[in-house]
């Protein structure tokens, strides 16, 4: 009787209408309120950045905004923490290579 176990089934989610975002040109479905990282994970995508040194793939690691491994270019704006930024209809996400840009003080 009960549906297959899934995160949505567990909390009996009845999400509002889903919408589309694109990742490197590929359309993905996101649910309202999901972070960009969650939308990517839901599509089975675990990596959306390559490192500056070795070009290694990275995605979300800490899940809470502390590690900065999930940096993503969102609508042309680099260095967004995908685990914090909510997905919005029509967002254009692109793999971030290296530093994105360098006008930020650390």
């Amino acid at each position: 009787m009960s549906p297959d176990p899934s995160p949505q089934a567990l909390v009996r989610a009845e999400p509002e209408a889903s919408f589309e975002v694109t990742f490197d040109g590929r359309p993905l479905t996101a649910l309202p309120g999901q972070s960009l990282a969650a939308a990517l994970w839901a599509a089975g995508i675990l990596a959306w950045r390559t490192t500056r040194g070795s070009g290694a793939p990275r995605g979300a690691f800490c899940g809470i905004g502390a590690c900065y491994d999930c940096l993503l270019t969102v609508n042309g704006r680099p260095n967004q923490r995908a685990c914090l930024v909510p997905a919005r209809p029509g967002d254009i996400l692109t793999t971030q290579e290296g530093t994105g840009h360098a006008d930020l003080a650390v």
């Binding site: 999901q34 994970w41 690691f61 800490c62 940096l71 967004q80």
Partner: protein, 479 residues
């Protein structure tokens, strides 16, 4: 509304940084006592790490399925909304506070708001730091592969976004969070072939008195244990994941037996296939706003540092209080308790408000829960042999891609004796996360106890906001 640094908001009584259990409880209790409160959080919704929950748009009809103690949270959010309606609490969401500086009338908090990184400034007579914690990570070969995620991180993504990193997820590391995470992942449909715990649990035996004074915690443990049995999850104690394998993402992990010092026992490694690994070795208090202000710290039983607090939750800096994990890892119930104690103390100090009658009970509960937390921390303190998991090629610093070999060389050949010198020689800890992920590991490799966070800013800030800041009289940014 957020304003630019040159036009800060009218001063408020209390600014609370962090809307987790501690900050939320404090904001609501302080407003109950008549203070005007501004509550700031980097996240979109109140709740912090423990009460993370799906956004309204996800339509969760049973969000409590991923939580215990949901009623304590729902009640406070109700009161928060009520205070907001009456103008007693201002809740600034998606505001990341990057520094707190002294002001003639108290304090000035500087934040960046939202993805547009709009500057915002809040002025307040008193500050409460309720900034929580992040996970302690101990590196091992393969830990930078996609699919290797924080254990608490996996839990956080599940609770807020209703997503899983894979279908077959090994849970590993150390600490009481692991069984909880494994239970949630399994309930949400993942296969969890094993929970791999580096400690032995025998440490708990020594702590029987504080355990029996915390029956609620024992019940919690039993519930998680029962959930694990039901999902046929294997619990391996005194074992660790010593390597993750895969090309573009994790495909398997090697699990090894550990000796008493957490050194892998040669020849005991075996492979477990999986498509994700959720790993974490307990939590590290997030202190930089406090240490930036010069607040004193104390060493906790698991070797990390926390803010030093008095019985009223005051830091060593007058006008600055802290509650929850910033003062030592202890769980959500302790965070709620400390938030309420802090609110009572702040109202007393700012307005002479008498302490509510409940305060004595809160103080007793805090003492009991702290004793329990200290016992857990001691039992899960990393053994020195964990560095045996690292080969020289393993990146220790994820941001700057600094391998263990370079750090060992800085120590053995260049004479670095502390994490700071290692950092200068190798760039470990100089990247985006400012050492949050590698700091503990670098300190161990340098042969010292992990030191307090000393980051000039608590998050990266656009240069133009820094330029607009008034002269840094006491910003404490000496590093």
């Amino acid at each position: 509304m957020p304003t630019s640094p040159s036009e800060p908001t009218a001063p408020t009584d209390l600014a609370v940084v962090g809307a987790g259990p501690a900050g939320l409880a404090a904001a609501v209790a302080a407003a109950d006592l008549g203070l005007r409160v501004t509550l700031l959080d980097a996240g979109e919704r109140p709740g912090g790490q423990f009460y993370r929950h799906p956004a309204p748009g996800l339509g969760a009809r049973r969000p409590e399925a991923l939580h215990h103690g949901w009623r304590a949270f729902a009640g406070r959010v109700h009161r928060l909304r009520d205070h907001q309606r009456h103008g007693r609490v201002t809740h600034l969401t998606a505001h990341h506070v990057w520094t707190v500086v002294r002001d003639p009338d108290g304090w000035r908090l500087h934040a960046v708001a939202g993805p547009e990184e709009t500057p915002a400034t809040v002025r307040a007579a008193a500050v409460l730091l309720a900034t929580g914690a992040y996970e302690r990570q101990l590196p091992f070969p393969g830990w930078t592969l996609p699919g290797v995620v924080g254990a608490g991180g996996a839990q956080a993504m599940l609770k807020s976004g209703l997503v899983l990193p894979g279908k077959r997820i090994v849970v590993a590391g150390s600490g009481p969070l692991l069984p909880a995470v494994a239970g949630s992942l399994a309930a949400a449909g993942a296969r969890v072939p094993a929970v791999v715990e580096a400690a032995s649990y025998t440490g708990y035996a020594r702590e029987v008195p504080s355990l029996v004074r915390n029956p609620g915690k024992l019940v919690e443990g039993a519930v998680h244990g029962g959930g694990l049995l039901r999902h046929s999850v294997r619990l391996l104690t005194r074992h660790a994941v010593t390597a993750a394998h895969g090309k573009d993402r994790v495909e398997a992990v090697t699990v090894s037996r550990l000796d008493r010092d957490w050194r892998p026992v040669p020849g005991t490694g075996r492979r477990i296939p999986c498509d994700a690994l959720a790993v974490g070795h307990g939590l590290v208090p997030q202190l930089e706003l406090g240490t930036g202000l010069g607040c004193a710290t104390r060493r906790t039983p698991d070797g990390t540092l926390a803010l030093e607090l008095d019985g009223d939750q005051r830091t060593s800096v007058p006008g600055v209080w802290a509650a929850g994990e910033a003062g030592g890892i202890g769980g959500a119930e302790l965070a709620l308790t400390e938030g309420e104690l802090a609110a009572a103390s702040i109202a007393h100090e700012l307005r002479g408000t008498p302490y509510p009658r409940a305060v004595a009970g809160l103080a007793r509960r805090r003492a009991r829960l702290r004793a329990f937390a200290d016992a857990m921390a001691a039992a899960h303190r990393p053994g020195p042999g964990w560095t045996g998991w690292l080969d020289d090629a393993t990146d220790v610093c994820r941001c700057e891609e600094v391998p263990a070999g370079s750090i060992r060389e800085a120590v053995a050949e260049l004479g670095a004796r502390d994490a700071r010198t290692v950092k200068l020689l190798t760039r470990a800890g100089m990247g985006w996360c400012q050492g949050r992920m590698c700091g503990q590991a670098v300190a161990c490799l340098a042969g010292e106890e992990p030191a307090a966070d000393r980051r000039p800013l608590s998050c990266p800030v656009p240069l133009k906001h820094l330029a607009e800041l008034p002269p840094p009289a006491e910003a404490g940014a000496e590093d």
